[in-house]
Symmetry: C2
Subunit: 164 residues, 2 copies
C-alpha cells in the first residue's frame, strides 16, 4: 500500500511541472466539480496528506492557509517540505493499522489503515478531476498509470514492508 | 491494499445508482477529459479490472465489447458478473506480488503488485473524472471518501491478509 504514496508523490510532481506551463489566471480560475482552482487542488491534496499523516502519528495539525501560498512556486515549495516530513514519518515505521485516529477536523475516530487508504484515494480522485480540466483547456493531462513507472518502495520496519 | 478493491466496488455501485437518475442521452453523451461517456467510463473501469485480474491469475482475456452492452442495466449486470469472478480470484489467494504479468494488450511485462495498484488507481482516477462531469450537469457526485465507509476485508490466505 505504501507504494501508492510514492505513486502519488511522483504524479503530483508531474502535475506541478505541467502547471508551470499555465498562466496565473488559469491556475487560479475557479472550476466546476472539484475543490476550486487547479492551484488550490494541488495545495489541497498536499495539505490533506500532511494533516492526516500527522494525525496518524499523534502529532497536532500545523495548518498553512492557501491565501499565504497563492503562487505555484510557493505551493510547490510547501508541498515539498510537507512531503519530506510525511516520508520521514512513514519511514520511521507504520503504526498499528487497527489503531484509531482522532483528528480535530473529523467528527469521529477512524482506523489508521482506513486513513492511510483515504489519503491515497483522495489524491488520486482529485488528480482525476485535474485531468478533465486539463483537456477542457486544451492540454494533455499527466498520465495516471501506475504501471510503467519506477516506484521506489518506502523503506521501513516489518509492518511497512507488509504494506508495500 | 485489497481493501481498496472493496472501496472501488462500493463506489462503483453508488455510481451505478447515481447513473440511474440520468437520461440515456446524458449517459451516452461523449464528454471531454475521460475515456468517453459516463456509461462508457463505468464499463471501462469494470473491463480493465476484469482483464487485468485475469491476466494476474494467468487466465486469457474474455473481452465483451461496449457496443454489445450499451445500456445502464446491461453494463451493470456485466460489471456484477465480472465483479464476482474478480472477488473469487482474489479470495483464492494473492499471487506473488514480485511475479510478472504478461498481457496481450501490454507492451512489456509488469510486476503483479504494480498491476494490482494500477487497477485500484485506474478506477479512482476515472471516478474523479465522473465527479467533475456530475457537477457540470448539475448533479451531486458520489462521495470519494474512504473513511466513514464500512469496507469489508477480502478473506484469503496469509498474503492477502498482509495486503489488507
Amino acid at each position: 500500500m505504501l507504494t501508492l504514496f510514492t505513486y502519488n508523490w511522483q504524479v503530483r510532481e508531474e502535475w506541478f511541472e505541467w502547471a508551470a506551463e499555465l498562466s496565473e489566471e488559469e491556475l487560479l480560475k475557479d472550476r466546476t466539480g472539484g475543490p476550486g482552482s487547479i492551484l488550490f487542488t494541488l495545495y489541497h491534496v498536499a495539505d490533506a496528506e500532511y494533516s492526516w499523516i500527522r494525525a496518524v502519528y499523534g502529532l497536532p495539525d500545523k495548518p498553512v492557509s492557501f491565501e499565504s501560498v497563492r503562487s505555484l512556486d510557493m505551493v510547490r515549495t510547501l508541498s515539498d517540505k510537507w512531503n519530506r516530513e510525511v516520508r520521514n514519518l512513514l519511514e520511521s515505521g507504520v503504526p498499528d493499522l487497527e489503531g484509531t485516529v482522532t483528528a480535530e477536523w473529523a467528527p469521529v475516530p477512524y482506523r489508521k489503515g482506513d486513513v492511510l487508504r483515504h489519503i491515497i484515494a483522495h489524491e488520486i480522485h482529485h488528480m482525476g478531476q485535474l485531468s478533465v480540466w486539463a483537456r477542457e483547456i486544451g492540454h494533455k493531462p499527466v498520465s495516471a498509470n501506475v504501471i510503467g513507472r519506477e516506484l521506489p518502495a518506502i523503506p521501513g520496519n516489518r509492518s511497512s514492508s507488509e504494506l508495500k
